[in-house]
Structure formats: structure tokens, C-alpha cells
């Protein structure tokens, strides 16, 4: 559930104050640069794909199909970021990163992919667009940070675009889940009923509703965390010279 992944990465804080933490080793840095470059490229492909499809069709409708495969590939690839935290080459919380990535993966596979009927919904375009812009900025931010040459523009974009993109993404996500509900209820998708030998039941329809409800406490927390980060990171631009 994130149009803009909250800046838990300490690489983001590094520019605001003296660097206290030792970075990852040389090999890890090289790997991470490659990873972030590839991800930036991937989301650029998705962006271009969306624009071209729009120009070709002349409408916003059904653009999902034109970028379905790269979206699935690159969004799922983000699971590696959890590993990066677990191994320690990225100084972020495994739990927080895990939560972020898995919520995106959940929306991509367990909602959009699994419930065909929502794929033509405009809400899908809403969150895909938000994710695409966010990720292009985020991954280029990480790339430049790792290379110690972070253009102020990228830093500014990372900590400013979310103001619009985050609510936009969340709206798209919620509308998509909501659109999926009737089909899930009708088909009993991913649901298990009693009796069965494991004495377990799961109602995916109720689960989706709970997921939607969980946005209420979670979204404001994440959003205001980013706002606070913005004040901290961008608020110091009068004190420190632009890093270039």
C-alpha cells in the first residue's frame, strides 16, 4: 500500500547530517547500484509503455494490459529489497520493508492479477501511474545516493512528489480492492470453508474488507512520517550546499 515508500532508508538521512554509519562494502555497493539502475530502467519501461499505449489507443481505458508483464516482473523483483535489509547491505528495517513490498505484491498478484474483472478498471491505472512515477524517482534516488552524487532535484522530487502520489496511489488501490469484492464473494476465490480436515477456514472477501479498513490507521502514519522526513531532509537546504 504505498505510492511512495516511506524513507526508512538511512541513505536518505545521510544528506541531512554527518554520515555516522559505515556504508555497505564495495561489492555490495556495486551490486546495489546495478540493482537500483535496473529497477529505474524497468519502471521507465512501464512509464513509456503506458504513454505509448495511451497515444496509440487515444483513451485511458485498459492500459493495464500493455504493461502487465513488466509491472509484475519489476514489482515482484522488489522482494529482493527485503533480502537486502535482512543481509544488512541496506540499513532499513526488514519488517517495514517487508510490509511495504508485500503490500504491493499483494495488490499486483492477489487482487489485480487474480480478479480479471478489475483489470479494466480505471482505478488500476491510478495506482499503476502513482507507483511508476514514485519508483522511478525512488530508485534513481538510491542510485545517485550510492554513487555519492545526488542531484538536489532528485532529492526534492523524492520528498515532494509523494504528497500527491501517495494519496493518489492509495485511492487507486482502495478502489481496485473494492471493485474486486463482488467477484470474490461470488466465486469464493482463495476461500476455504468448513468442514475440512485442517479445521480451518478463510474468507477472502472478509479479508479484503479488513485490508481496506487497515488503510485507515496505516496510511496517515506513513504519510505523516514522510512529511516529517521531508521537513528534516529538505528543511536543511539553507544550511548545507547542494550536493552534486
Amino acid at each position: 500500500m504505498s505510492a511512495a515508500a516511506p524513507g526508512t532508508s538511512k541513505a536518505a538521512h545521510g544528506e541531512a547530517g554527518p554520515k555516522k554509519k559505515k556504508g555497505p562494502g564495495a561489492l555490495a555497493t556495486a551490486y546495489l547500484v546495478i540493482y537500483n539502475v535496473v529497477m529505474t530502467a524497468g519502471w521507465l519501461v512501464i512509464a513509456v509503455g503506458l504513454v505509448r499505449a495511451y497515444l496509440a489507443r487515444g483513451s485511458y481505458h485498459g492500459l493495464y494490459y500493455s504493461i502487465e508483464k513488466p509491472l509484475k516482473f519489476f514489482q515482484t523483483g522488489a522482494v529482493l529489497e527485503i533480502l537486502h535489509c535482512a543481509v544488512g547491505i541496506v540499513p532499513s528495517s526488514v519488517v517495514l520493508t517487508g510490509f511495504q513490498v508485500m503490500s504491493r505484491v499483494f495488490l499486483t498478484w492477489a487482487v489485480t492479477h487474480s480478479v480479471r474483472e478489475v483489470q479494466s478498471e480505471d482505478s488500476v491505472l491510478l495506482f499503476v501511474t502513482a507507483w511508476t512515477i514514485t519508483e522511478i524517482i525512488r530508485y534513481s534516488f538510491y542510485t545517485f545516493s550510492l554513487l555519492n552524487h545526488l542531484p538536489y532535484l532528485i532529492k526534492w522530487a523524492r520528498y515532494t512528489f509523494f504528497i500527491v502520489l501517495y494519496p493518489m496511489g492509495v485511492t487507486g488501490e482502495l478502489l481496485t480492492i473494492y471493485a474486486a469484492l463482488p467477484y470474490v464473494q461470488k466465486t469464493g476465490l482463495y476461500s476455504v470453508t468448513l468442514p475440512n480436515k485442517y479445521n480451518f477456514s478463510f474468507d477472502y472477501y472478509t479479508f479484503l474488507i479488513l485490508v481496506m479498513v487497515s488503510y485507515i490507521p496505516l496510511f496517515p502514519q506513513l504519510y505523516f512520517h514522510m512529511i516529517r522526513q521531508r521537513k528534516k531532509v529538505l528543511g536543511h537546504t539553507e544550511d548545507y550546499s547542494k550536493i552534486e
Binding site: Y198, N199, F200, S201
Partner: protein, 308 residues
């Protein structure tokens, strides 16, 4: 006798919070905490962390002033640990919940299942057995809390009670819902499975209790001493040869038994989550033992013999 002067500073802001003069050299940290409490009534001793260094470890209540590396004007740093609640209170609350909640489902109290099943009982005898085992388990825990355990710390942070109760009460409700459900399916291998499960469960309950008693006997009443636990005459304690925290080993065994008995996936989840948490605790305890005792038996593993 030369008296000490004690000043207490806030560990974060370094503000002078309290100045005590004419403090006896043999005063303990506990006594100093009481004195500090007088000038700051909102910070009762249990929520005070007093240390020599702002970022250092908390001093113990038993530490004596003149034995600490301080001059005759001692400077201590204070951190507020937040509202505290006693361990006994937390344990009693978190264990009474599952006991009561499970019974609500067992007796099929209204608003849980379809109305036609209200106040009916299951036709499967394993369901009655499971209720007895679950209830026995939590009654045992309550009695141990009241009469057996000797706690190192009197209190824990208040927010823990909400966290812990959500965990215990939540899982108890989830398990109990399925085991006592009108559409419950008894174990595939029937009586054999249930009998084996019951034996495992009872064996591990006795084992767990034996370990609690052995640990209690290591520590004289009212003391907080720490000693290496060793096997006693009770065969259930011989597992100390291989494991540092056999209480957790037996606890895992009990829940594996209960999972087998009920053949219920939520019970398996509860067992898994509990196992993960207990492993974290066991590894911590094992590390403390190794740090504190040079002669700690090398053959022991934290929770699973040779494996973990």
C-alpha cells in the same frame, strides 16, 4: 563516617533532577531510588533506571554506593522506563483470558455459532478432551505464577499487557472457535492419534512443571541469584544435560501434542509463533549463561538438543 553526596541528572537532557546530601556509603541503589521518588512522586522506583553513564546499563537495586566507581559526590543518570506493571499481574491477566475465552466457545455461548447450536455440546469426545487439556494448561500456568515462579524483575512496561493479552486472548479465541465448531472434523487417525497426542501433551506438561520447580529451587525465597541449573533426581530434569531452557522445549512439546490432538491448523500456527518467540528467548538466556559462567556446560543448546 564519611557521607556521600548524590546528584541525579536526566540522561537525555542532563538537567539536574535531584540532589541528595548525607547519603550513607552503604546505601543501595534501591534506597537512592526511594529517596529520588520522594522528590519526584510521579517516578516510583520501579520506573527509574539509574545508571553511571547516560547510555550505560541500569544499575541494580542491590548495588551499594561505596562499591560503585564513583567519588564522594556521585553523579547518576536517570531514565524514565515508563509506566510499569507487575509481572504477576500481567501473567495472571494474560492466562486467565484464554481459560475463560476457550470455555465460552466450548459451551457454545450465543452469537458465536449459528443460533441452533447455542449451548449445545460437541458430539466428539476429543473436543471434551481438548477442553480439559487446554484448561488444565492455563490453570497450571496461573498456579505456577502464584506459587512457583521467582521473578527477577518485579515489573515490566505497561504497554506489554496490551500486547501480551492480544496475543494470548486472540489466539485462544481463534483456536477455540474451530475446535468447538459444530463442523469440527476429528483427527484422521482417530483414537490412535488422540492417545499419542495426549501422552505427548501430559509428558511435556509434567516436564515443564518439573523444570519450573527445579529453577525455583535454584533461588532462595526473595533473592535474585542466578545459578547454572543442573539435572536433579527427577528424570524430567535430565534434559538439562542437553538444553539450557528445557521449560521452553517442553512447552513446544505440549503444544505439538495439542496440535496433533485437535488436528487444527490455527493451533499449529500458534505453536509455530510460540516456538519462534521461545527460541529467541532461549538463545538470549543461553548467551547470558555463557557470558556469566565460565564453566557453563558446553554440550547444551538453547532450546532443541544439538539443533537449536
Amino acid at each position: 563516617m564519611k557521607h556521600y553526596e548524590v546528584e541525579i541528572l536526566d540522561a537525555k537532557t542532563k538537567d539536574k533532577l535531584c540532589f541528595l546530601d548525607k547519603v550513607e556509603p552503604n546505601a543501595t541503589i534501591g534506597e537512592i531510588k526511594s529517596m529520588f521518588h520522594k522528590s519526584h512522586p510521579q517516578w516510583y522506583p520501579a520506573r527509574q533506571s539509574i545508571r553511571l553513564d547516560p547510555k550505560g546499563k541500569s544499575l541494580k537495586d542491590e548495588d551499594v554506593l561505596q562499591q560503585l566507581p564513583v567519588g564522594t559526590t556521585a553523579t547518576f543518570y536517570f531514565r524514565d522506563l515508563g509506566a510499569q506493571i507487575s509481572w504477576v499481574t500481567v501473567f495472571l491477566t494474560e492466562y486467565t483470558g484464554p481459560l475463560v475465552i476457550y470455555l465460552l466457545f466450548y459451551f457454545r455461548v450465543p452469537f458465536i455459532y449459528t443460533p441452533k447450536y447455542d449451548f449445545t455440546t460437541s458430539k466428539h469426545w476429543v473436543v471434551h478432551l481438548a477442553c480439559m487439556c487446554h484448561s488444565f494448561h492455563y490453570v497450571k500456568r496461573l498456579l505456577e505464577t502464584l506459587f512457583v515462579h521467582r521473578f527477577s524483575h518485579g515489573t515490566m512496561p505497561l504497554r506489554n499487557i496490551f500486547k501480551n493479552c492480544t496475543y494470548y486472548w486472540g489466539f485462544a479465541a481463534w483456536m477455540a472457535y474451530y475446535i468447538n465448531h459444530p463442523l469440527y472434523t476429528p483427527p484422521i487417525y482417530g483414537e490412535q492419534q488422540i492417545r499419542l497426542a495426549l501422552i505427548v501433551f501430559l509428558f511435556c506438561q509434567i516436564g515443564n512443571f518439573s523444570i519450573h520447580i527445579a529453577l525455583r529451587n535454584l533461588r532462595p525465597p526473595g533473592s535474585k541469584t542466578r545459578k547454572i541449573p543442573y539435572p536433579t533426581k527427577n528424570p524430567f530434569t535430565w534434559i538439562f544435560l542437553l538444553v539450557s531452557c528445557p521449560n521452553y522445549t517442553y512447552e513446544l512439546g505440549s503444544w505439538l501434542g495439542f496440535t496433533l490432538m485437535t488436528q487444527c491448523l490455527p493451533v499449529a500456527f500458534f505453536t509455530l509463533v510460540g516456538f519462534i518467540q521461545m527460541t529467541v528467548w532461549a538463545k538470549g538466556k543461553h548467551r547470558s549463561y555463557l557470558k556469566e559462567f565460565r564453566d557453563y556446560p558446553p554440550l547444551r543448546s538453547p532450546i532443541l538438543p544439538f539443533v537449536l
